[in-house]
Symmetry: C2
Subunit: 192 residues, 2 copies
């Protein structure tokens, strides 16, 4: 397969995906139809189906390619960082990139039904967890000299950080934007 074709396919897929995202922001997951994406992209129904086998496949592509593209931001953060820092850094992705929490929340809703979208979501979360683990290890090793205990500490922290991030997403999606640092501080203040 020549390289030009590959590039062309990727460009077309992105063209469709970006048109779809514009529709999603305007109308939401539920109310965006293939006909809307056809109109927004200027392509035909068949053209879209020759690049994505279904609406769910298009959704998977958007999730994988646009909704969680900044996990490397976590992986690059060096030095000793606490669970609090990790959480704040993670949430900053939303304010920094303009990634709409509304769309993420809607995808979660759809993912609870099962199917391929759920599989894609679980894969993404697995990647996220391992990035979190790597970022937290230096901190855990400072708490204890036992390697197994450090692993357990990291696992516990992840069990807290993931739902805390989910709470931020659900909350801002429904009630409007909020500063990540203020959110974390408010949670700490309330629980201690």
């Amino acid at each position: 397969m020549p390289r030009v074709t590959e590039k062309y396919r990727k460009a077309r897929r992105d063209e469709i995906a970006l048109a779809a995202i514009r529709c999603l922001e305007r109308k939401g997951v539920h109310d965006t139809s293939i006909a809307d994406i056809v109109e927004e992209s200027g392509l035909s129904t068949g053209a879209i189906y020759s690049h994505f086998s279904s609406k769910v496949e298009l959704a998977r592509y958007i999730v994988a390619e646009y909704l969680f593209p900044r996990l490397d931001q976590l992986e690059r953060s060096a030095g000793m960082i606490t669970p609090r820092d990790v959480l704040t850094t993670m949430l900053a992705v939303f304010t920094d990139t303009g990634l709409p929490p509304r769309i993420v929340l809607q995808f979660w809703g759809e993912a609870t039904i099962g199917g391929e979208l759920r599989e894609e979501m679980l894969r993404t979360v697995a990647r996220l967890r391992s990035a979190l683990g790597a970022a937290l290890m230096p901190w855990a090793e400072l708490q204890t000299s036992d390697a197994a205990a450090a692993e357990a500490l990291v696992a516990d922290a992840i069990r807290a950080v993931v739902p805390l991030a989910q709470g931020y997403v659900a909350n801002t999606a429904l009630f409007g934007p909020r500063d990540p640092r203020e959110y974390v501080d408010s949670v700490v203040a309330a629980l201690t």
Copy 2:
């Protein structure tokens, strides 16, 4: 209007709503059609539309009548309770009543689009916030003798407790059930 008719209408609405909930648990919000509810309830399409003006109206009814019926549990809890206690009590509603977090999460997703479902959601959350406020006031008054400062303390606590509860819902909806107390403890441990 005679009372018997009123009662009959309520009974029919509940009959339809419960059939719908059985479908929702089986297939999710997205994949449950009116035809499914027709089959599950044994009624006709027109019968459903003579009790609910649309699918969204049915959804609103389910949310208002079945998804948040236990707010009074909070309002009844007496004595000095901390934000931590309030959060744990609130989350216990899910484990105690078998209310499926998956359905709640899906409704949140739909509510981000706007429309009547969003209005209904905001009304329910407003009720929830005032119940939380009432439950937390004795605790706040123990922290400070200034009435305004106590109010502010309550407001801050609510700003933390609501997203923490949302995080629990999103997390259990996607990754399976979890003990509320364990969740709260894990968050406290990670952030302090």
